[in-house]
């Protein structure tokens, strides 16, 4: 069972007074949502979880092993990360090559690389753009591509920074299905998102951050039932909850 544990984590960007401070936190298999305002430290946490940045103090362990040891020289199989801006992620000449790039770093046969690439591009709906230059794609298609590159190699832990950003409705449904599929097969899928309705609908548990600290971890429904928590974290209620509430209030007044 893949279990991530964080203890007494502290991190500050050099030359910046913004710091991340997390006393204790555990993630286990399944779909996990991290919410909070811009600048709350969500992306920084994701960076630390990916091992791209090292904490100043404290430790992140996976399955009881220190994160760096866990990653070792098997980063691809262990941890995948997508950045918020897909433009920062893409560096190959065609859509197909972009997905194949990761697969080729692993010991996979040529036929397998081809099969997986096609399958994943089919799943995210980019199969007909296979030979195009990633820079000719629309922003949302590039976002889908960056997700596909990570999903293709099936790492144990997947980290997504706002994967739904600028995606249309059919793509959102596809991505949700992919996340669900991976979560059901023992992967840890950690997602930063601003879409509260999606969180309420798809995530049983939620992690909320504010000012570099973890403010809440627990049941999603309980989080949104506490007005003080929602305010502290600086998010909004899901639209569905908001509309229901407004309606109830209106009917009561009558």
């Amino acid at each position: 069972m893949t279990k991530i544990e964080i203890n007494d984590l502290k991190f500050t960007y050099p030359g910046d007074n913004f710091g991340l401070k997390i006393k204790h936190l555990t993630f286990s298999e399944g779909m996990i949502a991290i919410i909070g305002q811009n600048g709350a430290g969500k992306s920084t946490l994701l960076r630390l979880l990916s091992g791209l940045n090292q904490p100043d103090s404290g430790e992140i362990t996976v399955e009881g092993q220190n994160l760096n040891d866990y990653i070792g020289d098997k980063r691809l199989e262990r941890i995948g990360l997508t950045f918020q801006d897909p433009n920062d992620q893409i560096f190959n000449a065609t859509v197909k090559k972009e997905v194949e790039w990761g697969l080729r770093q692993m010991d996979k046969s040529e036929t397998e690389v081809e099969r997986i690439t096609e399958e994943v591009l089919q799943e995210v709906g980019l199969a007909d753009k296979m030979d195009e230059n990633p820079y000719d794609l629309s922003l949302s298609e590039r976002k889908l591509l960056s997700i596909a590159t990570v999903v293709a190699v099936r790492p144990k832990i997947l980290l997504f920074d706002e994967p739904m950003m600028s995606l249309d409705w059919p793509s959102r449904k596809k991505i949700t299905a992919i996340f669900r599929y991976l979560a059901d097969r023992g992967h840890v899928v950690i997602t930063i998102t601003h879409d509260m309705d999606w969180v309420l609908e798809e995530y049983e548990d939620v992690y909320a951050m504010a000012h570099g600290e973890l403010v809440y971890s627990g049941k999603t429904s309980e989080f949104f039932e506490s007005p003080s928590l929602v305010e502290e974290v600086g998010v909004l209620l899901p639209k569905a909850t908001e509309v229901k509430r407004e309606l109830d209030r209106y009917l009561k007044e009558k």
Partner: protein, 260 residues
């Protein structure tokens, strides 16, 4: 906008900010030309020392070290190749086993190396003590057309922009499994396949920037020339002196080539 604190700033600004961009550009030209006119290794070393002092006194030495590190790699390769294969090699300097290094080649490479260091450091002084908008404003005030200013600036800053993109791509590569590359050859190997995408990415950025600049009327004839918030030390005099020095140095070099 002329804000009171901006006026104050003029008096308390460090010396390197009180020298105008064109003077700094001419300084690069003079230092570069000087390094080509000089043929003595000690004179070159003195020149390097001078540029180092320039950076030291402007507090930018630390941030220029990275550029020097990159130079070191180039210079080492040059020393190696010229030390071994320079056509005028005669005097044996030292030998490592069966490999012989010659004095002439090493001196020649060292001379070239010094010139590279001078140019890199002088350019660094310019880049680190000016900002794009300061340069742009100054040139526009000097009467250059804004479109020309913009083109000039985009050429000057294309390398830093590409470096930034390269960094991003390298981070993306690390995120996707390529470990920290220790040896230079390994580094080179990971950079090679991304050169084309790097150029495409940078071009793509320039494209969208140029679209947006056109939308924002940057070629408009009505454009207000913004007043310089800063006053500069004796800029006219510096320009004349440095311009004249450059011409003299070019003359020297040409004369040296003719009399060779």
């Amino acid at each position: 906008m002329e804000k009171p604190e901006m006026m104050q700033e003029n008096l308390t600004r460090p010396w390197h900010e009180r020298i105008d961009p064109v003077t700094k550009l001419l300084l690069i030209a003079v230092l570069t030309l000087l390094s080509f006119v000089l043929t003595n290794i000690f004179a070159e070393a003195a020149l390097i020392l001078a540029t180092i002092f320039l950076l030291l006194f402007s507090g930018k030495l630390g941030s220029s070290m990275k550029a020097l590190g990159f130079c070191a790699f180039m210079i080492l390769t040059m020393l190696l190749i010229q030390g071994l294969f320079y056509p005028h090699n005669e005097t044996l300097a030292f030998s490592l086993g069966a490999i012989a290094f010659y004095q002439e080649g090493l001196t020649y490479a060292a001379l070239l190396g010094c010139r590279i260091i001078v140019i890199v450091l002088a350019t660094n002084f310019f880049m680190r003590t000016t900002t794009i908008s300061e340069n742009a404003k100054y040139l526009e005030n000097a009467g250059m057309k804004y479109k020309t200013v913009y083109l000039l600036m985009s050429v000057c800053y294309i390398l830093p922009q590409m470096m930034q993109n390269l960094k991003k791509i390298q981070l993306a590569q690390r995120a996707r499994g390529i470990g920290e590359q220790k040896s230079l050859i390994q580094k080179f190997k990971t950079i090679l396949p991304i050169l084309i995408p790097l150029v495409i990415k940078t071009l793509d950025q320039s494209m969208s920037r140029s679209i947006s600049l056109q939308l924002r009327n940057f070629e408009s004839k009505k454009r207000t020339v913004r007043a310089l918030r800063r006053t500069y030390l004796m800029d006219k005099m510096f320009h004349r002196a440095l311009g004249l020095t450059s011409i003299i140095l070019i003359g020297c070099k040409v004369w040296m080539l003719i009399n060779k």
